[in-house]
Symmetry: C2
Subunit: 146 residues, 2 copies
């Protein structure tokens, strides 16, 4: 068996954004509450991890490649809900907040119900119901992690 | 106060990959254990959420835009550790597994210690110690979420 050399864990998801005010307004229009607002970053507390909005140029610099043109779409975030009806409600709220619809929620081949939208910077969210992945009352996926 | 219209939650992080075997081998060289391996996707259980590897073309199709060229770098994942020494160990393990170094771990302006690498598909990970964000024994960030 391989030794676990890196933790099977994510502590922070950072989204590089063009305009922190615009992006913050989008997520706050979804009803999100910021845990911390600084001039150059905003943090939102999720289920045991944080999501941060940070200027995309600052993110490239922080990555050690100032001036790099960073891309979106190949890493997506799914937010699961307890029913297709909850998915529809959340998806409609995102559209009302200005999200770009990529795919409206529909029954999908793996047995769930899911749609996709992009935020103002092109970051992709999936809004899904997955009957095979139960969540606890606090929105954490049940089961032990590695 | 805004009503919370969408949950402040991430259930699944999906990484679009060119070669599922190659990417699976990379994460497993870090010592990760798959929770589920299917022909078209692999899932790894994290701290209350899942990380999935999925073919990048399948991901574009799933997003409702088959053939789209999806980009990386603007959304990053940070894996926090309890000390700078743990960061160094994890970072070295990733490099040994074939990660591309973007920035070796160093003391950073916000008071932590952090480095960045890219996985075989260009997905960016930050390996960090943040003394201001305590984790519990299971690797969850402490504190209530919204």
């Amino acid at each position: 068996m391989a030794q676990q050399l890196t933790a099977q864990r994510v502590t922070l998801i950072s989204l590089g954004v063009e305009d922190l005010e615009r992006s913050g307004a989008f997520y706050e229009a979804l009803g999100w509450q910021a845990a911390e607002k600084l001039p150059e970053v905003r943090f939102y507390r999720l289920n045991g991890l944080m999501l941060g909005l940070i200027g995309i140029d600052a993110l490239a610099t922080d990555q050690g490649r100032p001036g790099a043109r960073l891309g979106t779409g190949a890493m997506t975030l799914a937010q699961n809900y307890r029913s297709p009806g909850e998915v529809d409600t959340a998806f409609a709220a995102a559209v009302a907040a200005g999200a770009t619809v990529l795919k409206r929620p529909e029954q999908v081949h793996w047995g769930g119900y899911s749609g996709y939208f992009a935020d103002p910077d092109g970051h992709v969210w999936e809004i899904a119901h997955n009957p095979f992945w139960p969540m606890d009352a606090d929105g954490y996926l049940a089961g032990e992690h590695g």
